[in-house]
Amino acid sequence: MKLLRLKPGHGEIVLAEGDVAVPEQERELIEAFRRELDAGMWAAVPTETPGGRREAEMVKSFAEVPRDAERVIFFPRAAGGAPRATR
């Protein structure tokens, strides 16, 4: 499993990589995962439905990440991009 983060001016960077079946590597993945969530990032796992449709699953903890997921992608949380119109 790879933990990736989208970075301005760079594209994605690899934060951590490891096998969730190996306890030590899983611990490192969990620590990296928590660091990103603590920094305010959102996390998504690209998935594929049984029908072949691709979508993403938002996850809020490492326990929610499917064990067979290849990638978790972190990105800055969404913010309203322009002031609300006055009514």
Partner: protein, 196 residues
Amino acid sequence: MAWALGTTALVLVVLVWELSRPRLALAVAQLRKRWAARRRGAAQMGYDPGRERRAEQRARALLSSCVDEQLWAMYRDLGFLRVWGGLGVGAAYAYLIYPHKPIVAYLPDTGELLNEYCVAFPDQTKPYGSSRLPDSDDVLAKWMALTGDERRLVADANMHLPGRQIDPGMVRRDLARLARWEQQRVEHPAGSVRAA
């Protein structure tokens, strides 16, 4: 008399000069230090004109590996993604995702534009001097957030009527391009179709 006044003025000028010289010297030294630091900083930053392009190439590769082949082809050929909405009941609706522009909701059956959802993903760490993601990463972030948790993204966005930031005429032209593109893909399923 004039001789005395002249001498006094000269003495005064020399006195003021002597008193202010240490301060002037200090100010000049500080200015020189600041200029040197600025020059060093600029050299260390080492502006690389290809960095943004490489970042965008990486972002495009990641986007293409995450979305369906058809969606990727849509983005490559047209410059935006169409994602179907999944909330509520009634008429089917969809979103157009543009890089660094609001998400536009519309009704595919009628072409009616519903709303603009203004949303950004600012990275406050600004690791490279800008908080903006590369274009394709911005599209990927919107796609992940929409397909992963549409309700939350819509709630976090600022909603406006169509036309606030995106020209409705441009959106309608894009919808027409999309319809032509899809038609051509039906007629020529194997090859890539370039948008008109």
